[in-house]
C-alpha cells in the first residue's frame, strides 16, 4: 500500500509518499520561517495563505521525485489537528478532494500521533509497547503507548511547552526564530557553570506540598532567564552563549529526570522521543546515557523528522488505513484535540 501524506498544521507545508513495502519514497518540506520572521511569531492568516499556494506544487514535485503516477497511490493522509484551523483546512480540503477524484480512501491524522510514530520511519523501528516523550513547540508530555491509538498520558506540562520555552528564551537573547536550533548553536560556545537556572518540579523531597510527579513546568525557567538577562543589562556574545548553555542544560535535565522517573514508574523497556525538541543533540546524548543506565533502548527520528514533516503523516496514515480506518468525504478539522481522545482502530 502506498500513502500520500500532507502536513499543514502550522508554518510548514510537508508532503511525502510512504510505501508499506519500500518505505519512504519521497518527501519535501516548504518552510515558512522567513515569511513569519518579521512578525515575531507565526501569523495564522499568512500561514494559511502560503499553504494554499505551496501545497499542490509541492505535492506535484513529490509525485515526480517518487516516480509515482496517480494510479500508484492507494490512500491519502492529512493532518486533521491539533493546529491552526485555517491552515489545517487547506491540507484537509486538498487531501480529501484529491482522494475523492482518485477514488481512494482518505484519513485525518492527529499531528501528535504523527510525531509519536516518526521514529518508526527509521531502520529498526521501535515495536509497541513503549514509553514516549513528546517534546515540541506546543506539547511536552510523557505517554504510555500500548499500540496504535492507545495513548495514556502519564505526565505533561502544566504551562509552557519545552519548545515554546526555547523559542521565548531565544527571543530574550535576541537569537531569532525558531529558537531551539539557535539556542543549541549558541550553547556550543558556552562555558558551563557561569549561570545556573532552576529545574522546575524536579525536587522529589520537597517538605511542603505534594511530590512533583511526572508533570513538567517551564514558565518559571523562562522567567529566571528573563530576570538574569535584565540583571546583566547588555549581553555580549559570550554571555549569550553561556546563558544559552545554562538554559539548555536546565531543560535537558528536567526532561531526563522525568524520563527516569517515568521509566521507574512504568517499567518501560523502550523510550521513544519525538517532536521538534527531540532534534536537540544534548538531549539525545543525555537520554541515550539514561537508556544505557536503565537498559532501556531509546529511539529518535532523524533530526529532519523531529520537526513537522509530511513523512510522519503518511506513515501514521498508512497504519490507520491498513487497519481499515478512513474518513468520509464530509471532512472537518480540530484545532484542539487531545491525543488521549484517539482510539485503536477496531
Amino acid at each position: 500500500m502506498r500513502v500520500l501524506g500532507i502536513e499543514t498544521s502550522c508554518d510548514d507545508t510537508g508532503v511525502a509518499i510512504f510505501d508499506s513495502e519500500l518505505g519512504l519514497l519521497a518527501h519535501r518540506l516548504y518552510s515558512q520561517t522567513a515569511l513569519h520572521a518579521d512578525y515575531g511569531g507565526v501569523v495564522p492568516e499568512l500561514a494559511s495563505r502560503d499553504h494554499v499556494r505551496k501545497a499542490l506544487p509541492l505535492l506535484r514535485t513529490v509525485m515526480t521525485d517518487a516516480g509515482c503516477a496517480p494510479a500508484d497511490i492507494n490512500g491519502i493522509a492529512y493532518t486533521a489537528g491539533p493546529g491552526l484551523a485555517g491552515a489545517l483546512l487547506v491540507g484537509a480540503a486538498l487531501g480529501q478532494s484529491l482522494a475523492f477524484a482518485w477514488g481512494i480512501p482518505a484519513v485525518g491524522i492527529h499531528h501528535m500521533e504523527g510525531h509519536l510514530l516518526s521514529p518508526m520511519l527509521e531502520p529498526d523501528p521501535p515495536p509497541f509497547p513503549f514509553l514516549a516523550l513528546l517534546v515540541s513547540g506546543g506539547h511536552t508530555l510523557l505517554a504510555n503507548v500500548k499500540g496504535l491509538g492507545q495513548y495514556r498520558i502519564v505526565g505533561e506540562s502544566i504551562d509552557d511547552a519545552a519548545g515554546e520555552a526555547f523559542d521565548k528564551t531565544a527571543k530574550l537573547l535576541g537569537l531569532g526564530y525558531p529558537g531551539g536550533p539557535a539556542i543549541a548553536t549558541a550553547a556550543l560556545k558556552g562555558s558551563a557553570g557561569r549561570f545556573r537556572f532552576p529545574r522546575p518540579m524536579t525536587d522529589r523531597h520537597r517538605t511542603h506540598g505534594a511530590a512533583p510527579g511526572l508533570d513538567f513546568s517551564f514558565s518559571g525557567l523562562k522567567t529566571a532567564v528573563a530576570t538574569e538577562v535584565a540583571r546583566l543589562g547588555s549581553l555580549d556574545s559570550q554571555t549569550i552563549a553561556d546563558v544559552a548553555l545554562a538554559f539548555e542544560q536546565a531543560v535537558v535535565d528536567v526532561l531526563a529526570i522525568k524520563c527516569e522517573w517515568a521509566i521507574e514508574a512504568t517499567g518501560a523497556e523502550r523510550l521513544v522521543v519525538a517532536g521538534g525538541v527531540s532534534a536537540n543533540q544534548s538531549l539525545r546524548a543525555r537520554l541515550n546515557e539514561l537508556g544505557k543506565r536503565f537498559r532501556v533502548r531509546v529511539y529518535f527520528p532523524r533530526p529532519a523528522f523531529s520537526t513537522d514533516n509530511g513523512a510522519m503523516i503518511a506513515y501514521a496514515g498508512l497504519l490507520r488505513l491498513q487497519a481499515g480506518v478512513s474518513e468520509p468525504a464530509s471532512f472537518n478539522v480540530h484545532a484542539r484535540w487531545a491525543i488521549e481522545d484517539l482510539t485503536a482502530p477496531s
Binding site: G40, V52, P70, A93, A99, A101, F331, N332
Partner: protein, 222 residues
Amino acid sequence: MKLLALDTSTDICSVALMIGSNMRERDISGMRHAESILPSVQALLAEGGITLGKLDAIAFGRGPGSFTSLRIGAAVVQGLAFGADIPVLPVSSLAALAQSTDAERVLTALDARMGQVYTASFLRGEDGLMRSIGAETVCAPDDVPLPDGTDWTGAGSGWDKYSDLLCQRIGARLKEWLPALFPRARGVAALAMPGLAAGEALAPEQALPVYLRDDVARKAGR
C-alpha cells in the same frame, strides 16, 4: 461544454453542474462548507450522470469573501482538478453576485467585516453576462467609488448590513437595492463559459483566492 462550478465566498456555499445548457445547483448553508462541499459535488455528478474526468473544467468563485471559506473552495478545486487532470477557471465572486440579479447595472457590496465592504460595479452585456467597470476594492461604505450615471441596483451582504450608509453614499444614482443576495455557483458557471471557450482555463495550482485585503498582520516593532 461540461463544467463544475462552486462558490464558497460567503456563509452560503453552492455547487453547480452545467452540461450544455442544462444547469443544476445545490446550496449549502450555515458555514458547513468543509462537511458538505464534496458530498454535494458527488450528488450533483451522480444526478448529472457524469464523472469528474469527463468535465472540461472546474470554475470557482475566487473571491473576495471570507478568507477561510475561500481557501476551502480553492483547495477543493485544486484537488479535484489535479486529481481529474482538468483545468480551472477563476471567476470574481462579486461578478457572480451581480449575476444573481436580473438588473442591468449592479453595484455589488459584500460584507468585509471591520466596517468595510468588498465592492465593484457591473454592467450586463448583450450575452446576459455581467462585466465589471473599474477595479474591485475593499473600503468603508462611505468611501465606495461612485458609479457613473443613474439606475444602479445594489446587491450583496454589504447592502444588507449597511443599507443606510450606502443609500446615502450612492444617492440619486441608485434605483433600488435588493436584499439577501449572494454569489452563486450557477453565476460562476455562466461567467466562466466564455473563458473556457476561449481556452483561458488554468492549471489546477492556479486555483487561488483573491482576498483584496492584504494588510492582515502588523510587523513587530511598528
